[in-house]
Symmetry: C2
Subunit: 386 residues, 2 copies
């Protein structure tokens, strides 16, 4: 299959540090190439890939400190679709920005929605593009839009490349907890600090602080970094993250938003480290309660969960990711969707031609429709809706 993978330009593929979407695109692309597909990756020019790279910006825009990503991405999408004769299918990872381009393309596009989809602005956007083929990264991600007539192709949970993480069956002594990702209200860094303090176990925080969150972080979180037992490390790269996670007693994930997936949960489990999470968004799809961690409703429950977390079998955590959240599992899920989309696309193209041929009559010279009459399609039934 000839597939175009279209990544956001915010981060490199794979990301240098933070960047869930670009990490998923990387894992999927590498696995697709390994399975013999012809993959073209549209991404920032510093990306590292086994696919054919089409550089769409000099470097990742966030680490460049630039705010020109939208311009580069509009230019990228136009280029992707101008080249569409080179592909069988386009897989876009840039949310709704690809919708207007995909609508007029000759070849089908699959859009993986990587963000939350519950805000009025997002629902309004989705509702305007009911024909676009969407993939969710969790079932929870679709809850708010469940009454909209959208064209969901399926849910494909995110997967990671397991070779980047080593399962550590014995956490560090003395023990520590970890908070990973982003310092923002919805990720719950304040709660993580409180829970760790109450449980009496040190907390290591490895997270970025976005510009939009800086004011909030300065008022609410950064002062807490001075507390004893709180260690702020900043943003970490892939290797530092793996080391940090594998040594931890548990990952604290006290989110307060409809988390669409939560990559750090599977990275943690792949390292053998259980996850103590709040019951929001995708958490119930990613964790197994009492088996790979604890799913809690309150801070009290999370403190209590820390006390019981040594009862979790760390080997089972790793196995859970190997089975359900590996790059291989994810890629198999996408391959099935690609095949279904291409089959459906070919069928529709054929029936469209047949119907056009019937309307124009069979005696017009050079009719595009004539050859397709040889294909055995039940043209007397309303095949367009099939």
């Amino acid at each position: 299959m000839r597939i175009a993978q279209v990544a956001p330009l915010a981060e490199r593929v794979p990301p240098v540090r933070y960047g869930g979407t670009e990490r998923v695109v990387h894992a999927l692309t590498e696995e697709l190439v390994g399975r013999g597909h012809e993959v073209t990756l549209f991404a920032s020019g510093d990306s590292l890939t086994s696919a054919r790279l089409r550089p769409m910006a000099p470097t990742s825009r966030r680490l460049a400190g630039a705010s020109d990503g939208l311009f580069f991405e509009i230019a990228m999408l136009d280029e992707v679709y101008a080249l569409s004769a080179e592909f069988d299918l386009i897989h876009a990872h840039v949310d709704g920005l690809a919708f207007p381009f995909a609508r007029h393309a000759e070849i089908p596009t699959v859009h993986t929605m990587h963000g939350r989809l519950d805000l009025p602005a997002q629902l309004r956007m989705l509702a305007r593009f009911p024909e676009q083929r969407l993939v969710s990264i969790s079932s929870a991600q679709r809850v708010a839009s469940r009454h909209l007539p959208l064209n969901w192709m399926g849910t494909v949970h995110n997967g990671i490349r397991l070779q980047h993480f080593t399962a550590n069956l014995t956490p560090s002594d003395p023990p520590y907890l970890v908070f990973l990702g982003r310092i923002s209200p919805e990720k719950g860094p304040v709660e993580a600090i409180e829970i760790a303090q109450r449980a009496g176990i040190p907390l290591k925080i490895a997270a970025k602080i976005d510009r939009v969150d800086r004011d909030w972080a300065e008022q609410n979180v950064i002062p807490l970094f001075d507390l004893p037992g709180v260690d702020y490390i900043g943003e970490v790269d892939e290797q530092e993250k793996a080391t940090l996670l594998s040594g931890a007693l548990a990952l604290l994930f006290p989110i307060d938003w409809p988390e669409p997936f939560g990559m750090t949960m599977i990275e943690s489990m792949a390292s053998g480290t259980p996850v103590i999470a709040r019951r929001r968004g995708s958490v119930r799809e990613v964790l197994v309660e009492g088996v790979t961690g604890f799913i809690c409703d309150t801070d009290d429950e999370m403190v209590e969960a820390v006390r019981h977390v040594r009862e979790i079998d760390r080997a089972r955590c790793r196995q859970h990711v190997e089975q359900y959240f590996s790059a291989e599992t994810m890629t198999t899920g996408y391959e099935a969707i690609y095949e279904r989309v291409l089959r459906d696309h070919a069928l529709r193209a054929t029936t469209d031609e047949v119907i056009a041929g019937l309307r124009d009559g069979p005696d017009i010279a050079n009719s595009r429709a004539l050859p397709s009459l040889e294909i055995p399609i039940p043209i007397e039934t309303p095949v367009v809706e099939s």
Copy 2:
């Protein structure tokens, strides 16, 4: 003429405080309605307009503190183009975001480019849409893209509604200088403070601080607000701005970027207040050296200009805006472009039909091309390129 005006959703139309693009859209829309056009304004729901308002978000996204503007704007553009049968022409003010929608529309779109157009990302985007009809807000705005084959319809300088500003021929005593707009490196607030200090005249600063500029402002500008003779007022509304400007000895405009237009320059002149500006971007198109202010190359020259600014005839400043930068002048410019675009669009549609009719032969029943043969078009010449 039935015209859709498509505003950004960042600010209300007209903006409550900061917001150059939305202010231009407001002035243009009001004037078009006054001239008898049927105008539909797509804008945030709190907008105030004489046109028919189609609310595309509950309120302006910046003052709501929301980061969902892109989703609302994609949904808006889809709605605009879905309704295109209701309009003769779409006038979009959302930079390149409307390009992919406009490309497939039945009716023509005119895009006014309101931002700088010199960054690699912007040039790359422009180059991908060479067929899109663009309007620049200054000739300077086009300099960086001059080698690209773009479809420029013309330059229409921004205009303001003159009734909002009263020319004051006698500035306040004791005198003060003013800096207006946005605290960011390219607007030169640090230079403005230095120039005012060296000239020995107090400076009033009325400006917003965006999130992206907060770190820079805290390190470089906010500490200077404590200097004697420096008065930071924050963001001002239309009325406060008019009062502030009309009392000032001069507006300091020490920009260090390719300013695409510079609304505050014309607002200042409309208040009778000369402008002391650095020679960048559009400045030479907006000011008349020695007549409505001074165009300088260095800080030294700007300090010197402050000493001579009382020699400027404040009545001439106002007249300059009345003649070249009023809402009326701007609207006349856009009307001419609309008419040209519609004429060209109708001509192309007709010749396309004629050519299609010639190719198919005149004897095909129900040919769409037949009626147009009655129109006297010189079909033996290559009219498509006319």
